[in-house]
Amino acid sequence: TQLLEQSPQFLSIQEGENLTVYCNSSSVFSSLQWYRQEPGEGPVLLVTVVTGGEVKKLKRLTFQFGDARKDSSLHITAAQPGDTGLYLCAVSYGNNRLAFGKGNQVVVIP
């Protein structure tokens, strides 16, 4: 059983469109992270959310942590080809040991 379920697994959109991807679990977490992984690269941390209901913005990316701290969403406004990548949510088990979801593969077509 996957601890973190990410949906949709694959999403292809046109440049300029908006998109939202989700990370869900039945467990409660003290914090949750989003990473982006581009082809041939390792994951890069985008944001850490800690408080239930928290919203964080990173340019055109908006991250929200669910009120119950069981789920999170990532919304991209006016997507650009540079937003193409695998978006991974992750939670920490302590001592910086992370459990990842399978990822949301996003493709933005010019």
């Binding site: 390792g42 994951p43 850490t48 001592n95 910086n96 979801g101």
Partner: protein, 114 residues
């Protein structure tokens, strides 16, 4: 400031062989973790090294072993390779005494087992 570096970037092995992958952590980091990422999957935790000892281990068989050197660099060894070991192996570093959950990853070593 060099980030996390891994070598080799790509390698091909045959079943039954052994492989060694290497990692140098980000400057100032003393903890190294290894992850396996199969195609279409998220990274899976293999183990973590701190102060030259294995501090945590994921659900991987004993064929997977590692080592950390006094300069904090690390090696991942896999014996008796199976086809299913084909994956991207990621090294991540972090400061050992601060559990922020923020990891810095290398670009990975792509292993293909034929």
């Amino acid at each position: 400031d060099a980030g996390v570096t891994q070598s080799p970037t790509h390698l091909i092995k045959t079943r039954g062989q052994q492989v060694t992958l290497r990692c140098s952590p980000k400057s100032g980091h003393d903890t190294v973790s290894w992850y396996q990422q199969a195609l279409g999957q998220g990274p899976q935790f293999i183990f973590q090294y701190y102060e030259e000892e294995e501090r945590q281990r994921g659900n991987f068989p004993d064929r997977f072993s590692g080592h950390q050197f006094p300069n904090y660099s690390s090696e991942l060894n896999v014996n008796a390779l199976l086809l299913g070991d084909s994956a991207l192996y990621l090294c991540a570093s972090s400061p050992g005494r601060v559990a922020t959950g923020e990891l810095f990853f290398g670009e990975g070593s792509r292993l293909t087992v034929l």
